[in-house]
Amino acid sequence: MPATKTVDVKPAPALRPCRRATLQINHLEDGCVVYHPEQERVHFLNQTAAAVLDLCDGHHGFEDIEARLADRFDLHEPGRNLAGDIIQRFIGEGLVMLA
């Protein structure tokens, strides 16, 4: 059995994350529940992760998403890369692609 290959998904800053078009997103007041039909998997996202997924529309770059997230949740901590970490997880789960 081949060893699992680890892929570094650290994105280039110029790329714009875009959520998969087939996702079925159910918004709730404190987050959202996302169904990924190709994988038949359900993801339960808190408010922060839901906000990031909303911004992954192919129109916003990483820095823009980070800034908008910081403004919305008052997360102005130097060097923090919350949105980037979440997006990398989204990419790993197949929820988001880079355009």
Partner: protein
């Protein structure tokens, strides 16, 4: 000879040629008020043959047991299965439901979390108890499923009035050990009604019987996960099921309830619902 009753519009007829078995059939007969128009008739026959008790449906033996007690328990399961089987468009969620001062609420949680005991206590304090095991979710609304409550013998020391009622009943072997009684609100002189509505609140129970009860708001996303974990027929169009659960939670309050002492837990629940 037969016993006839109605569940969610289906007429259930249980026939037997053994007169002394009729009172056993009364143990599982559903007396819930059912205003729905008559739908199907489900006929089952309980028959003795070659040392076995057979359960016959549409000419086929669908189950056999070596004793009547086990056969009655199986018959009860099969009746509920046959009633629920055609309801493919609904989600079947493992939850209890009641109404307190006009507010309809759901109680979910793993087996042994204390749903039935808490709802019985609520009923004795004035709540209307609709069901202790299954609710149906359709179009964002919950319909309670009138299955007889299973009151485990372990519940009785906590609720002397329930113990007094059960003293006049027959106990049946439990599915996970111990014994239980079939019961419903009519045993307590109370009405037993199904309800179809959006709940005012959903409570997710976690047992901690030696501790003080604790009620905390629960994120709706977390409650969606808990309800999906308690859904018994997640299959087919999973995306639609997810959407249904989320739609249910849009308008209702969600709480986590740590179940401690029975009186204190019921008081906390009542205060929240008032």
């Amino acid at each position: 000879m037969n016993r006839t009753f109605s569940i969610l519009g289906d007429q259930v007829v249980i026939e037997t040629d053994q007169p002394d078995w009729l009172e056993r059939l009364d143990d599982i007969a559903v007396q819930a008020h059912d205003p729905r128009p008559r739908n199907r008739t489900i006929t089952l026959r309980l028959a003795k043959s070659d040392g076995f008790v057979h359960i016959v449906h549409e000419g086929q033996i669908i189950a056999q047991e070596t004793d009547l007690e086990a056969a009655i328990r199986m018959l009860h399961l099969l009746i509920n299965k046959l009633v629920l089987e055609p309801q493919t468009e609904v989600l079947k969620i493992h939850a209890a439901a009641g109404t307190w001062q006009g507010r309809f609420f759901l109680v979910t949680g793993d087996r042994g979390a204390g749903k039935t005991t808490l709802l019985l206590k609520m009923m004795l304090d004035g709540a209307e108890m609709h069901c202790d095991e299954t609710v149906l979710l359709r179009d964002g609304r919950i319909q309670t499923f009138p299955r007889k409550f299973y009151i485990k013998t372990g519940t009785l020391p906590c609720l002397p009035r329930v113990a007094a009622i059960c003293a006049a009943k027959r106990a049946y072997p439990g599915f996970y050990g111990g014994r239980f009684y079939f019961a419903d609100p009519t045993d307590f002189g109370l009405p037993w009604r199904s309800r179809t509505e959006r709940p005012w609140a959903v409570f997710h129970l976690t047992p901690a019987f030696e501790q003080a009860p604790l009620l905390q708001p629960c994120a709706k996303v977390e409650m969606a996960k808990q309800l999906m974990l308690q859904t018994v027929n997640l299959a087919g169009d999973l995306g639609r099921h997810v959407a249904q659960v989320c739609r249910l939670l849009e308008t209702c309050r969600c709480y986590s309830l740590r179940v401690g002492g029975l009186d204190a837990t019921a008081a906390l629940l009542q205060k929240t619902l008032a």
